[in-house]
Symmetry: C2
């Protein structure tokens, strides 16, 4: 992971934090931080896609969230990270010392408010995720994932998926097999057109959204 000073690439949220910011460039699959490590930094994705996940004692994995450019990773209430984070693609992230962020937030009201909104949005995203995992079937979960992800990347009707089938499965609480089968089913029923395994075109996007119940 290469480091470089980057006071000229800082997002607006971090204005005034120049000296405390560091840009990290990571290769695909490289870890940003690990579960249990001290949460001294907060990260904002600049380019690429990252994901956060937790591993159970017997190896089962739950992907908490995929993180697109502009989004934040690593905000914690306690002193250590409760999830691991890694890049799915090549990723660049801006790292900010948590202590610097906290002391700036103490005087900058707009920043403090924005941090609060970020936390609330994160909570609501997790609640959506939980509803999906608790009550939707496989078809509904995959459809919901496609619709949600397309919206987040701002895709009109076609998009590239930066993650593997296994990543999607671990996000949706399914197996890679079920995800693959379900995508095939959506394809055969004309909801999507998967040119390659990483590229999806959404046909009948409204109908797809209706599948999410």
């Amino acid at each position: 992971m290469t480091l470089s000073s980057a006071t000229d690439q800082i997002g607006e949220a971090f204005a005034g934090l120049g000296p405390s910011c560091v840009v990290l460039r990571l290769a695909p699959g490289e870890e940003i931080f690990g579960e249990g490590e001290p949460a001294d930094y907060v990260y904002q994705v600049e380019s690429g896609t990252a994901c956060t996940y937790r591993i159970l004692s017997d190896g089962r994995r739950q992907v908490c969230e995929f993180h697109l450019p502009g989004e934040f990773i690593g905000l914690e209430a306690g002193v250590e990270h409760r999830a691991s984070a890694e890049g799915l693609t090549s990723v660049t992230v801006v790292a900010v010392r948590r202590s610097a962020l906290a002391s700036l937030a103490a005087t900058d009201l707009a920043l403090s408010r924005r941090l609060w909104e970020l936390a609330i949005k994160g909570m609501q995203q997790s609640q959506n995720h939980a509803s999906m995992l608790g009550r939707l079937g496989a078809l509904e979960r995959v459809a919901a994932f496609l619709v949600d992800f397309a919206e987040r990347v701002g895709a009109r009707d076609a998009m590239d998926l930066p993650m593997t089938r296994q990543d999607i499965a671990d996000y949706l609480g399914l197996t890679m097999h079920t995800v693959s089968r379900t995508l095939s089913q959506l394809q055969s029923e004309g909801f999507i057109d998967a040119r390659s395994s990483r590229h999806v075109e959404l046909r009948r996007q409204a109908a797809l959204a209706d599948l999410c119940a």
Copy 2:
């Protein structure tokens, strides 16, 4: 739902908000707010237990969280509530105008920081919930629920459950039948002793925690 001025019963978080606070007393099952309603108030549970939930178009229900005394309900990023809330038992809650809270937070640094921590904790709770729903089996979910709830109510080894089997099922993403069967199984294997359907004693609490994987 009866209202009364209650400047003398306000939690420490709301010091200085006296005039903007109202105490609501609700009968069991009574709604505190509904999904889609404007989120003008934030609520703190004073006594009893409440729960937040969302209903899908076809009637499936997902309980987002159970809320014990001291906990907050109704914090939202947008202008409307994204879940409904109701009391499981008789409940008293303190309602605070969101606008009053926001303007106080603008000057009170400690309050602003506490609100941020609340949001982060809520996010982590939801993430735990999602992990559970995504990757744990029925036995693990029920065991995790018992251990977690016992800890939250501060129960050493025995507790009363304020919610029905259906509520537990909707929280755990199971059916009431599976919850009931699983509790029976835990009982027959000596992990718990359910004197009545609403009272549980945890035997071998450590072993129970191990079941959660």
